[in-house]
Subunit: 200 residues, 2 copies
């Protein structure tokens, strides 16, 4: 099959994309080569540029093109608040709430012993150095409410316990607009346990 | 957002892949830049190589790196049989049956008026020239049994009607290993209509 080797190599290369199996990779390769060569060229260029340009922000660990990302470099953010998220996508979600004006630290993962990801792989010593800059007063844990996210939050809580820093966790509960009928029992139980007093 | 422009450009570029929306593109971009830079480099290279190397086979229209694809160049195939398929993937499926030793013509699409794909866009005049080489005796229509595939088969039948060439269509019916209980009524009706005589 030497005559189609570059096509086969492309199909194989596409499988590095998360969630893409052999069938999808094949479909994508044929689509690109048959219907969207400009798109394929654009993708090749974008990959190359991103590989050359992107590195980690020295302070918050997110992907950026400069030493410090835009947010860490901004003077408008409250440096006493540090929100810890798993991924840059989560950071974007937090930003979209427009309810947070502090800084971030992006773990770029989560503690997941089954996948061989522990505190060392996440380089949590960097986070610790970041938290102990003398300016951060509160760390807000905004890891996911998955098993791994919860384990990560628990680990971080333990790690930060002895430091003179307040550690908080974003609230669990019934989603805004949610109907009790369609909320799972675990969420509802948490919403009950973590109920807020409205009047004494 | 100038500081993350190459990341945003990559997310946008990934959306040229079929079935990939903004959320998936974002996830893919972060995955590549955070977890799989070698994979990203490999993908960029593979795209570039495929773009440079791949063109259409002069005889069967599939993607290849030479003038003629391996199959068209082979002397072991029966040149009197020509199987018409929609895509190179379909051609591969036919090959996997090991039940066909003729040649192929790959439409690289299907007649689909709603998508603005007609005989001209499929360049069916090339197919016609291919069929009328004086060697092809039978054309086997192996387009999909979707609406578009059936329209394409119908169109090709009409186009080839006045030529002294036999035109056939692969059979519809109950899949091998299929149970009547789980076959849809349309398929079963076709299987009944196109029943084969086992004895006179």
């Amino acid at each position: 099959m030497t005559t189609v080797s570059s096509l086969e190599a492309l199909i194989e290369a596409l499988r590095c994309l998360p969630g893409i199996g052999p069938k999808s990779a094949q479909r994508m390769a044929y689509h690109l080569m048959q219907r969207d060569r400009p798109g394929a060229q654009n993708l090749a260029d974008a990959l190359q540029r991103a590989l050359l340009a992107l590195r980690h922000c020295q302070r918050c660990n997110t992907l950026t093109e400069s030493e410090l990302c835009e947010r860490c470099a901004s003077s408008r953010r409250d440096p006493s608040l540090l929100c810890i998220v798993e991924t840059p996508v989560d950071m974007n979600m937090m930003e979209q709430t427009q309810a947070y004006s502090g800084l971030y630290y992006v773990l770029m993962g989560r503690v997941s012993p089954l996948d061989g990801v522990g505190p060392r792989e996440l380089r949590l010593e960097r986070l610790l150095a970041r938290v102990c800059d003398g300016i951060v007063k509160e760390v807000i844990l905004a890891t996911n409410f998955t098993n791994e996210g919860e384990v990560t939050a628990h680990y971080l809580t333990e790690m930060l316990k002895s430091r003179a820093i307040r550690v908080s966790r974003i609230a669990r509960g019934v989603p805004v607009g949610g109907e009790l009928e369609f909320v799972d029992a675990g969420t509802l139980a948490q919403a009950l346990r973590e109920r807020r007093a409205l009047s004494e």
